[in-house]
């Protein structure tokens, strides 16, 4: 064995710990997760197939909560042909699929994955593809300007992070001096489509079949337009290494058979009414030359170091979200606390409802409500009261500010309330007795003392807020976590970029923690014991 550096050892230990800890809470794994692939049970090998399960009609959950779709049907047909193997299906998020494949939670991925050099360096692809995705431009019904990639210049184009379609756009930008402004989205295509209809985006690129399905399902006023941008073959993906070789070659063989006896195209026709499985020459060629001989390491420290500054660049976004939300949250929290303390009629009901709602619902839901709900309400106002605000031009980060501020405000209001109530009543009485008004007494005497009491709690809130901001990418705001996902999706080195982001968050929190304790010390000058 070769010697590992100390850092590498430490990081691996850290990772193992994380895996153990998260392993305790992960639920979506029917078979025993530890090395199920290697255990041979009565001669039948269990194969766990990872898929997103949200990618209709390729893989999704039906009314009975069963995974189904084109991808699943193809694997099922393979299952039928391989007597010595039994296939199980697990739904997980895009990035977890690859992490799970590496950590042997899954043995293969069936999720319309396309091939590129970087992916091939890390994972193993069989010779046979099982689908040809036709990438197409999607625009609003009333848009007759955009017909080709060149028409996207100067436009806002949304795309799910890590997809082939994102790569098409990135490649175009690389070759043409970045004329397209790419907006990255997390996961599902439907948020991208909805934002095109809402006018937040001009277009997207996606699989024609998928897009049509979603547009129909969601009743959106969108259309696919122009010639196909490109066709992209999809593959099943396997882990590199000897334990996976047998599985891969058997699946590959079965696919060959299915292609030649026409079963594969039958499945395609069943789902799409069309055969999308024909092999194009170009694909074959690509498959032949792309094989690179690189063994995937558990951790690529070099890559980690290289991508670190790329992710760090987005630290200001994270800090900005946290700071703005904290400040606005403090104001909202103070007002709410005062309304509750003084039992202001009517307002106190609103305040109670607000705090109870925010504390009783997930932040994620609040973000969606803010991002999709507020424009709907504004749009309604616009059409009913002839308002002249252009809702679609509000940047997504504003909705992040709104939801995080409201969320933080609700939690802080309780901290602030108890801090104000913890200030001795005699302090305000003394202020009254020297002729000060309630407002003066509050501002000059009570609040400063309450601040000292609440400061440690404020510090904790700010640190949790900082970490909660990692959800911002959900509504297409690229922060530390969002950038990590974008960078990671490009190379599929999720481990490395997540460690990078963990380090960045950690460092920020260390600095913030230090800052808070300095502030506490300064604020505590009049609480300390006898000073000389």
């Amino acid at each position: 064995m070769y010697k590992k550096s100390r850092l590498q050892k430490a990081v691996i230990l850290f990772l193992l710990l994380c895996t153990v800890l998260t392993g305790c809470t992960s639920q979506e794994n029917p078979s025993s997760s530890n090395g199920s692939s290697e255990k041979e049970n009565k001669g039948v090998r269990k194969v766990v197939v990872g898929t997103e399960g949200t990618y209709q009609p390729f893989n999704y959950k039906d009314e009975k909560n069963q995974l189904t779709g084109y991808d699943i049907d193809v694997v099922k047909e393979i299952d039928k042909r391989l007597d010595d193997m039994e296939f199980d299906y697990v739904a997980a998020q895009w990035d977890s699929l690859f992490l799970g494949l590496e950590s042997k939670k899954y043995d293969m991925i069936a999720d319309q994955i396309s091939k590129d050099e970087e992916r091939e360096g890390k994972y193993s692809f069989p010779d046979n593809s099982y689908f040809n995705s036709v990438a197409s431009l999607i625009v609003r019904d009333d848009n007759d300007i955009i017909k080709t990639m060149d028409d996207l210049k100067g436009r806002k184009v949304g795309v799910s992070v890590g997809t082939t379609f994102a790569q098409i756009l990135e490649k175009y930008n690389e070759e043409h001096d970045s004329p397209i402004s790419i907006e990255y989205y997390e996961g599902n295509i439907s948020s991208v489509l909805q934002d095109i209809e809402a006018g937040r985006l001009d277009a997207t690129i996606n699989d024609k079949v998928i897009a049509k399905e979603h547009i129909k399902e969601l009743g959106l006023k969108l259309k696919t337009t122009g010639e196909p941008v490109t066709t992209v073959p999809s593959y099943f993906v396997f882990r590199k290494g000897s334990d996976s070789e047998e599985l891969q070659s058997e699946v590959d063989e079965a696919l060959s058979e299915m292609r030649s006896d026409g079963t594969l195209s039958e499945i395609s026709v069943k789902w799409f009414g069309e055969d999308f499985t024909a092999v194009e020459e170009q694909d074959q060629q690509q498959a032949g030359e792309g094989k690179k001989e690189s063994v995937s390491e558990l951790l690529d420290i070099k890559y980690m170091v290289k991508s670190f500054p790329e992710i760090l660049r987005y630290a200001p976004v994270t800090l900005m979200i946290a700071l703005v939300s904290m400040l606005v949250g403090l104001i909202i929290g103070l007002i709410t606390a005062l309304v509750k303390i003084y039992r202001v009629p009517v307002l106190k009901w609103i305040a109670s409802f607000y705090v109870s709602f925010v504390r009783g619902t997930p932040l994620l839901v609040q973000m969606y409500l803010s991002y999709y709900g507020i424009p709907k309400i504004l749009g309604f106002m616009q059409s009913h009261y002839q308002w002249n605000a252009d809702v679609s031009n509000i940047p997504a980060i504003v909705f992040v500010y709104i939801s995080f501020s409201l969320n933080t405000g609700a939690y802080l209001s309780e901290t602030i309330r108890s801090a104000i109530q913890a200030v001795d009543k005699g302090q305000l009485e003394a202020a009254y007795s020297v002729g000060m008004s309630r407002f003066q007494g509050m501002v000059r005497i009570v609040f400063p003392q309450a601040l000292t009491i609440a400061l440690p709690n404020f510090g904790n809130s700010f640190i949790s807020l900082l970490k909660d901001t990692s959800l911002a990418f959900i509504i297409a705001v690229v922060d530390i976590m969002g950038q990590a996902k974008i960078v990671g999706a490009r190379s599929l080195r999720f481990f490395e970029v997540y460690i990078d982001s963990a380090i960045i968050y950690w460092l920020i929190c260390l600095v913030v923690g230090k800052g808070v304790s300095v502030m506490e010390k300064r604020a505590n000058k009049y609480e300390g014991g006898m000073a000389a």
């Binding site: 020297v434 002729g435 000292t452 009049y526």
Partner: protein, 251 residues
């Protein structure tokens, strides 16, 4: 100078003040004696509306406040004409000695900061704390804190300074320094209402003594009358108990 008429106050069904009234001339020192729960502190707190009285009339200087017909401005005005020294000092914890004295001058009376500072320093000198100007309350002893409290009240130049058991929370060895300062306040010619259990102080300083029990004034008059020759049984009882306690403590 100060006139209180028919002051009533109840907490829920418990009537604490049952129609108190008295008249204080400028420069007089009124000492209110009485067992605990007799309503002494409530009376003081009603005079500057820290508790809202149920009924009554308060006149200070030219200002007349009729309970039930007050507005916020009137109450602020009333508070500007009174000052209070609290049992638990109630110094502003987030402010130094000199800032404590300045606060009312600058914030309520809108005095120029520099002027307020100089005035505050001179009053802190009067109470013997010129070397503690920049100390926070937590850095001062109880006696020192209460002296700052007295300086804070005096600096406001109010029509009356009310002392609410100013020595009750102090360690016995610190009581003397505070009483000495209070005597000097009296010698200054300030109008004072003092709620206390310090009989000796009352004898020496008071121009008038009120004995309260059960929400009413039981007996009043000069100290030589009320303290040395009490007429009412309740007064006699109280005085003998207090002096007895005092003796036991001294022993």
């Amino acid at each position: 100078m100060i006139e209180i008429n028919n002051m009533h106050k109840s907490f829920y069904k418990n009537e604490v003040l049952k129609g108190i009234g008295f008249h204080i001339k400028k420069g007089e020192v009124y000492v209110i004696l009485g067992p605990s729960g007799s309503g002494k502190s409530t009376l003081l707190r009603c005079i500057n509306f820290l508790e809202k009285p149920d009924k009554g009339r308060i006149q200070i200087g030219g200002l007349t406040v009729e309970v039930g017909k007050t507005n916020r401005k009137q109450i602020t005005e009333l508070r500007k004409r009174t000052a209070m020294v609290f049992q638990h000092y109630n110094l502003f914890r987030n402010k130094t000695s000199v800032e404590n004295v300045m606060e009312g001058l600058v914030t309520a009376q809108k005095m120029d900061k520099k002027e307020a500072y100089e005035k505050s320093v001179s009053y802190l000198e009067k109470v013997g704390l010129e070397d503690r100007l920049n100390y926070y309350p937590c850095q001062l002893s109880g006696g020192q804190q209460q002296r700052v409290g007295i300086a804070r009240a005096m600096a406001l130049d109010p029509g009356v300074i009310m002392f609410d058991e100013p020595t009750s929370a102090l360690d016995p060895e610190l009581v003397g320094e505070v009483l000495d300062v209070m005597k000097s306040v009296a010698r200054d010619g300030r109008t004072m209402i003092v709620v206390t259990h310090e009989i000796e102080f009352a004898k020496e300083v008071a121009s008038h003594v009120l004995f309260m029990d059960g929400g009413v004034i039981v007996e009043e008059g000069r100290p030589s009358e009320v303290i040395d020759h009490p007429q009412e049984d309740r007064t006699k009882q109280f005085l003998s108990r207090v002096t007895h306690d005092k003796l036991r403590m001294v022993q």
